[in-house]
C-alpha cells in the first residue's frame, strides 16, 4: 500500500513488482507508439528530411508519463527498453540510451518537488525532457550521423519548441485521464 501512495507522497522510488512489470509493459507500448509516430513522420516532408516532430513529441510524452506513473527505477527501465529496442528502427539508438535516461531522471526530479497537478509542473518537466533529451540526440546526430553542426542546431531548436508544447499538452491530459481511470492509484 505504501508503494501505491507513493504517487501522492512525491517519492522518487517505487520498487514493487507492480511498478517493475508495469514499466516493462508500458515500455513496450512506448516502443510501439514510437514506431507508429515514426511512420507518420516519414510521410511528412520534414520527416523525410530527418526531423521527427511527432515521433519526438511521442518520445517526450512517454518518457514523462511512464516516470510519473511508475517512478524510478520504472522510468529508467521503460526508457531503456525503448532506447535498446530502437536499434530496430533508428540508427541513433546509442544516443537514445543517454537521452532517455537523462529525460526520465529530470522528470523524477521535478515530480519529487511538485505534485504534478498543475500545467506549470508539466511544462517544467517537459522542459527538461525536451531540452536535455534533444541536445543529447543532437550530439548523436553530429558525431554519429555526421550532420553539419548548423543544421543539427536548427533542427534541434525546432524539435525542442514543437515537442515541448505538444508533449506538455498530451502528458497532462493523458496523466490526468489515467489517474481518473482508477487503473493507477
Amino acid at each position: 500500500m505504501e508503494n501505491e501512495l507513493a504517487l501522492k507522497r512525491k517519492k522518487i522510488f517505487k520498487t514493487d513488482t507492480k511498478s517493475l512489470i508495469g514499466a516493462v509493459v508500458m515500455g513496450i507500448v512506448f516502443v510501439i507508439a514510437c514506431q507508429i509516430t515514426g511512420q507518420i513522420d516519414n510521410m511528412l516532408p520534414w520527416g523525410k528530411a530527418g526531423m521527427y516532430l511527432i515521433n519526438g513529441s511521442c518520445w517526450a510524452f512517454f518518457t514523462a508519463f511512464i516516470t510519473l506513473i511508475y517512478k524510478q527505477p520504472g522510468g529508467i527501465i521503460a526508457a531503456e527498453i525503448e532506447a535498446l529496442t530502437s536499434v530496430m528502427y533508428s540508427p541513433l539508438w546509442v544516443a537514445f540510451i543517454f537521452a532517455n535516461a537523462v529525460g526520465t531522471i529530470w522528470v523524477s526530479f521535478v515530480a519529487s518537488k511538485y505534485d504534478m497537478t498543475k500545467w506549470s509542473h508539466h511544462i517544467l518537466a517537459q522542459a527538461g525532457v525536451c531540452i536535455l533529451g534533444n541536445c543529447i540526440v543532437t550530439v548523436g546526430m553530429i558525431f554519429i550521423l555526421e550532420i553539419p553542426l548548423d543544421v543539427a542546431i536548427i533542427e534541434t531548436l525546432i524539435l525542442i519548441a514543437v515537442n515541448w508544447i505538444v508533449a506538455t499538452v498530451i502528458t497532462k491530459l493523458a496523466y490526468d485521464a489515467v489517474l481518473k481511470s482508477g487503473l493507477v492509484k
Binding site: T17, K18, L20, V25, I32, G50, P73, I147, P148, V178
Partner: protein, 244 residues
C-alpha cells in the same frame, strides 16, 4: 554452422561493444568498412546467409540517403566539386555522409547481431552474474514475453478502428486518430501489467534473494581468452587512433 547461441552472452556482448565503441571513436572510413565487413563475414560463417539483416539494411539505406541529402544541401566542408544555381556540393560533405553511413551500419548491425544471437534468459543470467537482483534481471525475459502480447493487442485495436470506419487515409487523419490507437493500448497495458504482477507475486516472485533458473551460464576458457583478446584489440585501436 557454428551455434553462436550457445556461447556465453558476455563474450557476445564484448564483441558487440567492441564494434559499437570502435565505430563511435573512429574517424576513418577504412576502419569502419573493415568493421562492417567483419560483421558480415562472421554472420555468413555462423548463419550462412545475411537474411537477418534484410529489413534493417533497407532502413539504414533510407537513413543514409537522408544524411546524404542533408549534407549535400547544407554541408560546406572541403572543396566544391559541383555547382548548379544556388546549390554547391562539397567533397567533404560526401565523405562525411559516407563515414556517417558506415558508422550507423556498424553500430546498428552489430547490435542486431547480438540481439538475434542472445536469448533473453541468457541476458538475465548475465545480469545475475553481475549481482543484479533477479527481480530486475528477470525483466529482460519478461520484456521478450510481453512484446508479442502487446503487438497483438495493438493489432486488435487497429482492426477495431478500421472495422469502425475510423478514417486513416491521409496523414492528418492518422495524426488525428492517434489517441484512438494509443490510449486503448495504454489502458490495456495497465490492466495486463496489474494481472501479470499479481499473478507472479502469488507464485512467490521476490520471496527469496535468489531463485533456481535451472539453466545457468558459465564462461568457458576459450570464451574468456576471446574476451581478453577483444579488449586488447580495442585498446590497441584506441591507442592507434590517439597517437597515429
Amino acid at each position: 554452422m557454428i551455434n553462436v547461441k550457445n556461447w556465453d552472452p558476455r563474450l557476445k556482448l564484448t564483441w558487440c561493444l567492441f564494434l559499437v565503441l570502435t565505430a563511435l571513436i573512429s574517424r576513418n572510413m577504412m576502419l569502419d568498412l573493415v568493421l562492417l565487413l567483419t560483421i558480415l563475414i562472421t554472420e555468413i560463417i555462423t548463419e550462412k546467409s545475411l537474411k537477418r539483416f534484410k529489413v534493417i539494411a533497407i532502413l539504414l539505406l533510407i537513413a543514409g540517403s537522408q544524411v546524404l541529402i542533408i549534407n549535400l544541401l547544407f554541408g560546406r566542408v572541403g572543396e566544391p566539386v559541383w555547382s548548379w544555381w544556388i546549390l554547391t556540393v562539397y567533397n567533404g560533405s560526401l565523405i562525411a555522409s559516407l563515414l556517417g553511413f558506415l558508422r550507423i551500419c556498424v553500430i546498428t548491425i552489430s547490435a542486431i547481431q547480438f540481439a538475434y544471437n542472445t536469448d533473453a534468459t541468457d541476458i538475465a543470467q548475465m545480469l545475475i552474474k553481475w549481482h543484479i537482483p533477479y527481480r530486475y534481471a528477470m525483466l529482460v525475459p519478461i520484456t521478450a514475453r510481453f512484446f508479442p502480447v502487446m503487438v497483438n493487442e495493438y493489432h486488435s485495436i487497429c482492426d477495431s478502428n478500421s472495422a469502425r470506419g475510423v478514417p486513416c487515409d491521409t496523414v492528418m487523419e492518422h495524426i488525428r486518430n492517434l489517441p484512438a490507437a494509443v490510449m486503448p493500448l495504454i489502458y490495456r497495458a495497465l490492466r495486463i501489467s496489474n494481472d501479470a504482477s499479481l499473478s507472479v507475486e502469488l507464485r512467490g516472485f521476490g520471496r527469496y534473494e535468489t531463485r533456481n533458473f535451472q539453466k545457468t551460464i558459465g564462461l568457458r576458457p576459450f570464451e574468456g581468452i576471446m574476451i581478453l583478446f577483444i579488449i586488447m584489440m580495442y585498446i590497441s585501436i584506441m591507442l592507434c587512433i590517439m597517437f597515429l
